[in-house]
């Protein structure tokens, strides 16, 4: 359907084009043509965004103000009760807390490790490509797959889990990594799995930033007596990486906010209550309990939070102006 209408347009276009070019004054006609061509290019995307982005949000606003238990259509006006209930729901508040704790661990750790890795890899020449590939390769892995390895093989709570076998060498009793909250070892599991998977990606961005630094800066610094080591890092490298650093920090926070896969798969055998980020809790409410009005209210609260965060970062960084 779409393709056939596109080809007819092509014909009309090619036929009409020379004429339109010659006669400049007839703006009206050419603007109609421009309109048609514009919508041929952009129409499919806008239609899709309308159906799968804008309408869902608007519809879920409607749902969130209504009782929609176990049904997808509103049944009676519920006012703000869904929002009220969600914001005072200890599980939801706890899930926001889980996100905060996760972000406090994962964001600085990813930042420091990715920067360190980038500096290290960038400082060698022989086999640099090999090391870059090796550190980047975990990005080929899905979070589900990584969860399998982490949960079943490395941090298995039984005696045959690898981590526990290593501990056994030091005569330490097996640890129930993801089933105990005292101490909360599951954070070690959840944080390391994400570190392993995404460090390489951020390293790539840092290396790109490093290679964009003009070598003259280092030469000038060498003339001034700063040669290698901490000083050039402190006064040249790090300030020059400002853009990469900021975008990596922000991407990290937003990615942590969307954490779902590894929490869903690692914290899934009755231990989910220990660490349940917002998206996992909303899955429970909407898809398991079938309470779509309540789930929609939760999704909209999360949307609001992330929009505020985005606007705030735009304000701080002056996005839009720079473009």
């Amino acid at each position: 359907m779409k393709s056939s209408s596109a080809t007819t347009l092509t014909h009309r276009e090619t036929l009409a084009e020379p004429e339109g070019r010659r006669s400049r004054p007839r703006i009206r006609r050419s603007s109609l043509k421009t309109t048609l061509v514009f919508w041929t290019f952009v129409g499919p995307l806008l239609l899709g965004l309308l159906v799968f982005f804008f309408i869902p949000i608007i519809w879920s606003v409607v749902l969130s103000f209504s009782n929609a238990r176990s049904t997808l259509s509103p049944q009676g006006f519920a006012g703000l009760s869904n929002y009220q209930a969600m914001l005072t729901d200890p599980n939801f508040v706890q899930s926001l807390g889980t996100f905060l704790v996760f972000a406090i661990f994962i964001v600085p750790l990813t930042f420091i490790c990715a920067l360190g890795l980038a500096l290290l890899v960038n400082s060698v020449r022989f086999a640099q490509g090999f090391f870059r590939l090796v550190f980047f390769l975990p990005a080929a892995c899905s979070y589900v797959l990584a969860s399998v390895i982490w949960k079943v093989s490395i941090f298995n709570g039984t005696f045959y889990g690898l981590a526990n076998q290593v501990l056994a060498l030091f005569h330490i009793a097996p640890i129930q990594w993801v089933f105990t909250s005292n101490p909360p070892w599951y954070w070690l599991v959840l944080v390391t799995v994400r570190l392993w998977l995404q460090l390489g990606l951020y390293m790539i961005i840092f290396i790109a930033g490093l290679q964009d630094i003009p070598p003259e800066l280092y030469e000038a610094a060498a003339v001034d007596g700063a040669r290698g080591g901490w000083k050039t890092f402190r006064y040249i490298t790090f300030p020059q990486l400002r853009n990469a650093s900021i975008s990596i920090l922000l991407l990290n926070v937003i990615a942590a906010f969307q954490a779902f896969d590894e929490f869903f798969n690692i914290m899934s055998n009755g231990n989910s209550i220990l660490a349940r980020p917002p998206l996992v809790y909303i899955y429970q409410v909407a898809l398991i309990d079938g309470n779509f009005g309540y789930g929609s209210a939760g999704a909209l609260i999360l949307t609001l939070i992330i929009v505020c965060f985005t606007l705030l970062q735009g304000r701080i960084l002056g996005f839009g102006r720079a473009e």
Binding site: F38, F52, P56, S60, V121, V134, W196, Q258, A299
Partner: protein, 294 residues
């Protein structure tokens, strides 16, 4: 060792006073890199090792680096296991990732070009709508999207898995940025030859943008193959499970069939490892351009 010293000689000539210090520092760096490389590769090794072992080897209290024997028959066992829709999952994932990549690239490429080049009165307003979608990650609004898609009757269908992921504001934005810097002269040449916008786009712009198209295609494919949340939500019937959902169900089953789980994981990641090794250049370029997509 020889390689290390030779690369040491390659590095910028410094004052000759401390060559030993330089060698030590270089050796140290390669030492740390090698240790880290082993750590990073270790989980891949675990998948292969456990996948080709018996459950007895996997759960042995005396873990050995190399299992006593390799069991390639695990592969056959997995595919013939009636309880695990593994082959269906592979086929679903391949279809979803391929269709989503093709659809997303075509639609975003067209829209990106239209927004970059066609002087339409409301183009800025449309662009603003696209930018608006960038503020809200699709994962955050999966419940609202699910509600609409299930109203369309698309739960547990291929179109339900594929279509919502085709419309990507971010890919469109990246295409637009790329086309903005596309050389005008080339397009002018097309105009002179009598090509309209569509002809210019198809005959001139697309053939000269294969790099960016390849880069964005390959990272779209990767994130689609590895995607979990949307397939989990929409693929409720086992026949509509993608490979990630199959593995997740497998992982959370009451009784764990360890060797099948790991051989499944190994097969699920193989296509992507091949893609990474072959198309590394485009993947790196794609991630650099997008910052980070998924």
């Amino acid at each position: 060792m020889a390689a290390i010293t030779s690369s040491g000689r390659l590095s910028r000539p410094r004052r000759r006073s401390k060559p030993t210090k330089q060698i030590i520092s270089l050796t140290l760096r390669y030492g740390v890199l090698t240790i880290l490389a082993v750590i990073f590769l270790f989980p891949f090794y675990l998948i292969v090792r456990n996948g080709l072992s018996t459950d007895l080897d996997i759960t042995s209290p005396n873990w050995t680096f190399f299992p006593k024997s390799l069991h390639f028959e695990n592969i056959q066992e997995l595919f013939s296991d009636p309880d695990v829709p593994f082959l269906d999952g592979l086929i679903n994932s391949a279809m979803v990732a391929t269709l989503q990549t093709i659809g997303q690239i075509i639609i975003s490429g067209l829209a990106g070009y239209g927004l970059a080049r066609i002087p339409y009165r409301w183009a800025n307003l449309v662009f603003f709508a696209v930018i608006l979608t960038l503020m809200i990650p699709s994962a955050v609004i999966y419940v609202p999207t699910y509600v609409i898609v299930s109203d369309l009757g698309w739960v547990s269908t291929l179109q339900g898995l594929v279509v919502p992921g085709i419309f990507a504001g971010f890919t469109t934005f990246l295409f637009r940025q790329f086309f903005l810097s596309f050389p005008h002269e080339l397009e002018e040449a097309g105009r002179i030859d009598g090509l309209g916008y569509i002809g210019t786009f198809w005959r001139i712009v697309v053939p000269n943008s294969t790099g960016v198209i390849a880069a964005l295609s390959v990272i779209t494919f990767i994130s689609s193959w590895n995607g979990f949340l949307w397939p989990l939500v929409i693929g409720q019937d086992p026949s509509a499970w993608t490979i990630q959902v199959v593995l997740s169900n497998f992982l959370n089953a009451q009784v764990l069939n360890l060797h099948e789980l790991f051989i499944g994981a190994m097969i699920a990641i193989m296509p992507l490892v091949v893609i990474f090794l072959l198309l590394q250049r485009y993947i790196v370029q794609g991630y650099k351009q997008s910052g980070l997509k998924g």
